[in-house]
Symmetry: C2
Subunit: 227 residues, 2 copies
């Protein structure tokens, strides 16, 4: 047995890191199920093929995150499983009723969760941070949503204003998920607070929610929708 | 414009090749949807993760087959789409009612379709044949089914005899799919017949069904089930 045990601080830091990695892995696992469901409902074969590719990518990303969990001495399944129901409430409250709403739910709702993970990742060790940012950095799905909503916009102004409303509902629910994570997961709360403190001081939580809202507004803007 | 047009025979051969590639690609697309559904229902997280990996592999395989379609001058979506409903009847008639039945449906039912494609692939050009055999050659899913049914067998003899019965029903339905493909797809019928003629002469169709049945029996045997 080697005796290079981590100090108390390092051990706590490492537990917080595993917590964030568990959340990221769970988000990718949920993304797989959602993308597979979207693929089954896609209006065209080309979209279906594309969505199955995104689903495959989510599997690869999740496994990269779980490999890092194992490298850090964590139990991948336990770490992942501890977030098993993280989006259940969100999904139940935001069941989409059209293909466009589905796309927006994926892009906007899960986008907020990804942004939160990216924010909190600023507090991680460099290798883990790079991995998390890389895993969450893919824009393929964004491009699909943008292209599809461009078609919608050209076609139907009523649809567009309904989707803007849907986007506002989604972001409200998604920010609620983040709030509940901060309240129930001290490790995530510590990472998020440390990431915010890296800024100009003041209320870290207010800054975080301001940042998430600003990113949401940008995202809606890319779709040509009013946030 | 180059003037190296294929001769009539080569063009017909090429159309038959595209037909088989379309079927293989469609089987992988259907496999994705089924594996994603199986993952959602998997009793343990470890199985769920494994099934999402198989689903991701099916996407990669399908895309390799579609890339070959494009190389051969075919339209990947058209070739794939022409088999859009190939397993609809099979799926409707063999809706599994338990997790074990689901596993067996995947392993036994789709196994017959894969065997048919492998058989017909013997008539393809070498590069395409190697690709098809490679794409259909993975045994990961087999191992999951075998491991799971080992658990069942140790546990419950009634379940095992029910699954043997289920397997017989599946193979009947699956052979029906092959029969219907041979009757409605002249290209596949030609490839299958040519592959059988590579043998000792006689009735190619009878030989094909004999071969598919023998492979089914071996497959059930690996699971410790009576065919």
């Amino acid at each position: 047995m080697t005796e290079t045990l981590p100090t108390g601080t390092q051990a706590a830091q490492s537990a917080d890191t595993l917590e964030l990695l568990g959340l990221v892995a769970q988000l990718e696992l949920v993304a797989f199920a959602r993308l597979a469901a979207d693929a089954a409902l896609a209006p065209t074969l080309a979209q279906r093929l594309q969505l199955t590719r995104f689903a495959a990518t989510s599997v690869e990303r999740r496994d990269r995150v779980l490999a890092r969990v194992a490298e850090l001495g964590g139990d991948p399944e336990a770490v992942l499983g501890s977030f098993a129901h993280v989006l259940d409430d969100f999904d139940a409250r935001t069941a989409p009723s059209t293909w466009w709403e589905r796309l927006l739910t994926a892009y906007v709702g899960y986008g907020v969760a990804d942004d939160f993970c990216r924010h909190a990742a600023a507090s991680l060790d460099e290798e883990t941070r790079t991995l998390v940012l890389d895993v969450l950095g893919d824009v393929g799905h964004t491009e699909l949503a943008v292209a599809e909503l461009d078609v919608a916009r050209a076609d139907d102004e009523v649809l567009v204003s309904r989707l803007a409303l849907w986007g506002r509902r989604l972001v409200g629910e998604a920010l609620g998920v983040v709030q509940s994570l901060l309240a129930t997961r001290p490790g995530l709360a510590r990472l998020a607070a440390a990431a915010s403190d890296g800024g100009q001081g003041g209320d870290g939580s207010a800054r975080l929610f301001g940042e998430l809202t600003a990113q949401h507004t940008r995202r809606m803007g890319r779709l040509g929708l009013t946030a």
